[in-house]
Every structure is written in C-alpha cells, then in structure tokens.
C-alpha cells in the first residue's frame, strides 16, 4: 500500500504543509474522503485540504432535522461487508479491506434505517481514521491561479495556510453554498440554512419558498409547531414514488403533501413569487399563480427560502471553468474533468455535473453518497492511469467465463445498480491480448470513445417502475443496444437473462453455455424482454 501523504513536522501537527504535490484534493466530505482513499490505494501521492475543522462535509450540519434521507439496512439479503450488501447500504464509503467496509450499520442505534446526522458524521470520520485518509483541516482554499500551458500547466491553490502547487486538482467541496433567486425582498428572509429551532415557529404562519426536499423537510419538521404552512414554487411538486427516482420529494417528507391534499391546512401552491414585503413584524408574500390569474398575497409571520444551493467554485469560472444550471455545476467530461480546463476534476455531489445519458429522463445518483462513492473510485483509477502512469489492471477472462461473469455482475454489482445507465462494466475482446475485464467506466464514455470489440453491462430503469439489464455490444465500431428481461426481485441472472446474454455473446463469436456457473435463481419471474436495437438503423432521418 502506498503512503497516503506527507509527513508532518514542527509545532503544526496537521499534515500537508503548503508546497508542491502531484495532486491536491479540496474538501473533507464523503466525496473527498472516498477519492483520497482510492487514490492512496492506487499509490498516487496527494494532499487533502479542507476549511472545516473535522471530516463530514455537509453532514456536519445538515439535514436540519438531523436524520438522513438515505437508508442503510441493518438486516439485508446480503452479508455486511460484501459487495452485494452495498445495494442496501447507501451511506458507507467503499474500501478494499473487509474490515473497513460497511461501517455505517455498526454505528446506528436501531431507531431507524435512516441514520441520524451525527451517526453519518461519525461514519465518515471513522472511515477516514481507520483507512489512514489524512486531511489538513482549517485550511481554506481562497483563490486559484493557472501557471504555464499544456502539460506544463501548474494549478496554484492559494489557501489560508499558503500556496499549494499541483498538476492535478480534485475539487470536492459539495453543492453547498446557499442560493437565493433574485426575487425582490428575498434579502429580508432567511435561507434554509438559517432556519431556527422548530419550537420558535410555534403557532406562527410559515411561508416556505421552494418545493424541493429541503422545503418539504422544513414543512415536515414544523407540522406540529406551525399554525399554518404554505409551500410555493412555480412548478408542481413531484414525488419520488411517482418519478421512480431521487428526483422529487422523498417519501420521508411527503406528510405535508398528504396534509395538503386531505385539507389539513398545509397549502402546496404552484405560483411564482413576485415579491416579499415587510408588514410590521410580519411579511406579505405576493405570488402569481402559474396557471394565470390575479396575484395572490399571503401574510406570514415567517418566510424561509428553501431555494437550494450552488457549487462554491470560488474563482474557477473566471479561470475558464464553464458552469451551468441553477446549481452552477461545472461542465464535465464523462470522467468528471472540467470540460474547459484540463487537470481540474470534481468528486462528490459536484460529479452530478457529468450528467451521462439521463435515459428516460432519469438522472444518475451522483448527487447522493451511494452514487458519488462509485464515481470517486472510477475517477481515482482514471487519474492514476492517465495522469500518473499507473497501469490499469485488466484481468483475463476465458471465453467460458464471460457469461458467468456478466451474470454475476448483473446480480451483485452495486455500482451498476446504484448508477443506472451511468456506470457500466466492460469486457473487451482484443485480438492481441484476448478477453479481459476492463472494469467499471462511465457508459457515455464507452458509447462515444470507440475502441476494440467490447461488451458494456448496465442496469437501467424506464421511469415507470421497471428495472432491467441492458447490454451494449460494440463490434467494428458500431454499438447495438440489447435490453434484457426485467426481474421482480432484481436478480437479473435467471435462465432468461443467461440465454439473452448468450445470444449477445454469440455475436462476438463466443459460444456460451447459458447454464454455466448457474446458481439457484430462487424462482424469480422474468418479464418483458426487449428486442435488440441497432445504433445504425436503416430508416432515413426526419
């Protein structure tokens, strides 16, 4: 195992004094810790800097009501510490060593399968301590310079402790800066992050701007305290159980919505906020209904702007880092490198700026730990290979092993399940070196990069409740898409799946036995196989 960083010295016991490093990671939340861990295991020497006094990132303070949205199931159909268990544990970070895996369930008090915020903070701190991830805390990144050009370019991170020079930087500071839209009067009211303790809203009229999870989290927490609650934003509230994704209000926060639809006193409105005015100790909120009509004015004792967060990139945009969207995410390549300034990479929730295919409108889970942790591992491998010359392992596969390998990945691979239609396991068929496991890569990169004949294995969803594997076969540079049957128990390695895999492998000249290495499929019912779809249809364009 490679050393993880620089030795400290002098009176300052913190690691990583200012100076020159091959790579610098900025941040100390789950994204930064995960990418630092993976870089360290690949032997890439680097420094980790954070303005915070301890690990945890956003989880040191949020969610406001102190319990996460992401579950960890203490009792699951897979053994703790196994790869398969990661499907059920959305909060532990990833480790090679068995003793460092699945830390989260061991820290939970049993009250809920949603860890409390302090439990999550402890999970992250413990992972860093046990795996040797070291962080220079209380070191604030303040400015950035770029010196030189091309391969000689140096990124200079100016911090509260001095300058750090590197050729590669990984920014993992979260989408963490409170954002307020330019609504007249919005400066009069606090952002979500400045919400007071719940009891201080007792018997008061509360108006919440925003109908995302943060707005509904506040409404849920204030249901038993507030006299009335209004939630307003221009578009309809979407529910995760309807979108079949993390887009929309999570079930934990749906209670105010039920209160609204059953006439309990909570109002959930589709209206633009025109302006906010002071009215003595209270406020007037002037709204305009999205479907037209006259403005409607609400009186409220408290108004809270649950209007989201942006990415705190400091001066990176002025150095050429392109950003987009309300969250001001940096535009990224499929491997999470700035699309406009090479050498600057992103990890953690910022990695959602590499959106991937968004098939059927469904985003990847890169905005959550259970998605971003896999991105970070793939990113570290990519950086190690392409910027530090660390050779990529490519285990050889016998032709008879390919079908069982693919079937096992479909059944157990957590990165395919959590990052649907976003990360893919690739098996390549190279004339010179034979069949090999190319590991996990972004699906968009596989589709667009070209290369030898290869098979990309993914799990996907259609936004209407179905989960199913999809194989992408690249032969002679053309890619064909092969949806496989779904499975009600999400096993994806039953007899029908194996026959479908064998059919696709036949196109590579591999005669695979569908029953090879087959385990008990547990009586799962396969449903709705789809036909192969060519990426080179013969129909003319319109």
């Amino acid at each position: 195992m490679a050393a993880l960083g620089e030795a400290s010295g002098g009176r300052d016991e913190r690691p990583f004094p200012p100076g020159e490093y091959p790579l610098v990671v900025v941040g100390s939340g789950p994204g930064a810790i995960q990418v630092s861990y993976a870089l360290g295991r690949l032997g890439v020497r680097h420094a980790v800097l954070s303005a915070d006094p301890a690990p945890g990132g956003m989880f040191r303070r949020f969610p406001f009501f102190q319990r996460l949205l992401s579950w960890t199931k203490p009792y699951a159909p897979a053994e703790r510490g196994s790869r398969a268990y990661e499907r059920y544990d959305w909060n532990s970070l990833l480790a090679d060593e068995p003793e460092h895996r699945s830390l989260m369930p061991g820290l939970m008090d049993g009250a809920s399968y949603f860890p409390s915020r302090p439990e999550m903070e402890r999970n992250l701190r413990l992972f860093a301590e046990r795996t040797g991830v070291r962080i220079r805390h209380d070191c604030r990144w303040e400015r950035t310079r770029l010196e030189g050009e091309g391969e000689d370019r140096t990124i200079v991170l100016e911090t509260s402790d001095g300058e750090y020079r590197c050729s590669t930087a990984v920014i993992a500071v979260g989408v963490a800066e409170p954002y307020k839209p330019a609504t007249p009067g919005i400066e009069l009211v606090p952002h979500y992050v400045d919400t007071r303790p719940a009891t201080s809203y007792r018997d008061r009229r509360v108006f919440i701007i925003g109908k995302q999870n943060s707005g509904f989290e506040l409404a849920s927490g204030l249901l038993q305290e507030a006299r009335s609650i209004v939630l307003a934003s221009p578009s309809p509230a979407r529910l995760s159980v309807v979108t079949h994704s993390l887009v929309g209000i999570r079930a934990r926060y749906v209670q105010p919505y039920e209160d609204h639809v059953l006439g309990g006193g909570v109002a959930v409105l589709e209206a633009a906020i025109e302006r906010i005015e002071r009215d003595g100790e209270a406020f007037r909120v002037v709204t305009r209904p999205s479907r037209g009509g006259d403005p409607v004015t609400f009186e409220a004792d408290d108004v809270i702007a649950a209007t989201g967060f942006v990415t705190p990139l400091l001066d990176l945009p002025s150095l050429g880092v392109a950003t987009f969207g309300q969250s001001r995410l940096p535009a990224q390549t499929p491997f999470w490198e700035s699309a406009t300034v090479p050498g600057i990479f992103f990890a953690g929730t910022i990695s959602q700026g590499a959106a991937g295919l968004k098939k059927h409108g469904l985003p990847a889970n890169s905005g959550a730990v259970h998605g971003a942790r896999y991105n970070a591992r793939v990113l570290a491998r990519r950086i190690a290979e392409t910027r530090f010359g660390v050779p990529r392992a490519r285990p050889a596969l016998a032709s008879s092993d390919v079908l069982p390998f693919v079937a096992t990945e479909l059944r157990h691979a957590p990165e395919l399940f959590h990052q649907r239609a976003y990360l893919a396991r690739v098996v390549s068929f190279e004339p010179a070196t034979g069949i090999g496991d190319d590991g996990v890569v972004p699906l968009a990169w596989f589709l667009d990069s070209g290369g030898p004949d290869a098979l990309a294995v993914t799990i996907e969803a259609n936004g209407e409740g179905a989960f199913y594997p999809v194989l992408y076969a690249r032969r002679d540079g053309a890619v064909t898409e092969h949806p496989l049957p779904g499975d009600e128990l999400l096993g994806f390695d039953g007899p029908e799946h194996r026959r479908a895999i064998a059919d696709v492998l036949a196109g590579f000249g591999i005669a695979a036995d569908p029953e090879a290495g087959m385990a008990d499929s547990g009586g799962r019912a396969a449903v709705a196989a789809g036909p192969a779809i060519s990426s080179r249809p013969e129909a003319p364009a319109s």
Binding site: G292, G325, D448
Partner: protein
Amino acid sequence: MIERMTIADELAGLALFADLSSAQLEGVAHLFDEGWFPSGERILRQGLTGSGFYLVLDGEVAIRQGDRELARLGRGDFFGDISALLGEPPVADVVALGPVRCLHLAATELRDALVAYPTVLFRMLVEQTRRLRNAERWQR
C-alpha cells in the same frame, strides 16, 4: 444573493415561448433540466432508447447520420421531439459543434408539457411543418 438571468428570462426571448405570460414562463422553466455539452459530444445517440427533448440555449449542433450532416440547429431550435413523441430511438446523432447549453425534458414529460401549454405545441407544429417542407433538401 446571486443576480443572474433566469431560465424563464431566457425562454422569454425564444419564439417557441412567445405567447406565454411571465408566470407561465416560470412554470415551463422549472420543467426543464439544464445541460452543457463540450464540442464533439453526442447529445442524442442514433438508435439508443430513452432519449428526450432538447432545446438549444447557446451554441450550435449538427444532426448527423454517420458521416453525413443533415442539418444544423442553433439557439431557440429544438430536437429529439420526434423520437420522444413516437417513443422510438432517434434515427440520427445530434452532436455539439463547440460548447452547447441545452434544456432537456424527458420524453415522458413532453406530452404533458405540450398539453399544458398548447401555444407552445402550436409553434412546435409550425416549426416541424417548416422542417418537413425543407426535408427534400436533406435527401439530396
């Protein structure tokens, strides 16, 4: 507080949304996701399922079948509507020519959006009719 042009402000300047009130523009703006594509990246991929509807905010894209370029689209233009409405994979690639900023709507949400805002539907129909009229030029 961050001062910047909102998506609703940008939509207000596009012909497709010229008939909408400011409140309606706010509502439409919140339906879309924003995306950014570097030069050369494929935004739509020929033959792959699950694509959506796109509206170009900045930059230019090429519609391609293999090496053959069929058309170019720019600010205010849209694509992906046919495959989204028919539920079929795109029959051409759409590739960014330089940096491209787009708005994206899932195919499953396009129908509801068009029913909710029929003036947008009408303007899309006019534009598609114009493209159909020009289709012969693509065949040459």
